[in-house]
Symmetry: C2
Subunit: 155 residues, 2 copies
């Protein structure tokens, strides 16, 4: 893209490190916050994430990608959610290999409770309107540029 002048690079370099450090700190806290919230509803972190990403019926394969984990893990996670009656496997009529995940009525209720808990005490609420809007824009751009699969930099 655009190579930057060497002198100003240090400035940005320091800032970048700082932002990365804080981003990881924030990430850790958000993760802990989410885990605590999930625990209040007797959900494991992964179960909570699975519910979170299953707004519309979704094949297990897709969920695995969204959760950045192996497909085999989804089996167990969905098993436990299904045992609690929060989710259901529905065979896709178009492709009978596929099992679409459908959140049940109770599952939706639990998901709403979870989202409510997540809003409480969320750090981003400390920002004022302008900052929030700016942050939204940045996040949008940030998420666009990286599609989740950064170049693997193969050795």
């Amino acid at each position: 893209m655009h190579h930057a002048p060497d002198v100003d690079l240090t400035e940005r370099e320091l800032l970048t490190r700082q932002v990365i450090r804080m981003t990881f700190e924030l990430t850790g806290r958000l993760r802990a916050h989410m885990d605590r919230s999930a625990a209040q509803l007797d959900l494991t972190p992964m179960q909570a994430r699975a519910l979170f990403h299953s707004g519309a019926p979704v094949p297990m394969r897709a969920l695995a990608e969204q959760l950045h984990c192996d497909a085999s893990n989804i089996t167990g996670i969905v098993d436990r959610l299904e045992e609690r009656g929060l989710m259901e496997r529905v065979v896709d009529p178009d492709d009978r290999r596929r099992r679409n995940l459908v959140v049940t009525e109770e599952g939706r209720a639990v998901t709403e409770q979870l989202k409510a808990l997540l809003r409480e005490g969320n750090p981003v609420l400390a920002l004022d309107d302008d900052e929030l809007a700016a942050l939204a824009g940045m996040l949008e751009r940030t998420l666009q540029t990286t599609d989740g699969t950064p170049q693997p930099t193969s050795t």
Copy 2:
């Protein structure tokens, strides 16, 4: 038509939800990115985080708090890091109950490699200088206001 203050609140409310959603999305990607980076160095996610937070000698208790996990987990994590020679338990002479975690020479090298990998493909690099500075400010404020233990808001 008497109430419905949503007209003013909705704006921020929607924005907040959007930001929260994107924040979690970004969190997930960063986590996946960190896990992949750690895997390239044959480190588990927790081992990587343990190294990351052990710049200066730190008692295991403190590390547990920084990693938001039970103290008993640290035992196993440090065990494996010690087996690889990346860390050492050093008994604190002032308080012989304490074992300070000291990163070895090799451990420091691995940590540097890890940090280098983390910088590669980090989504925040997509931002320009002004945005980066603004983000830094927001993160700082955000991290200040929440000390890691968010108080349950009554709203």
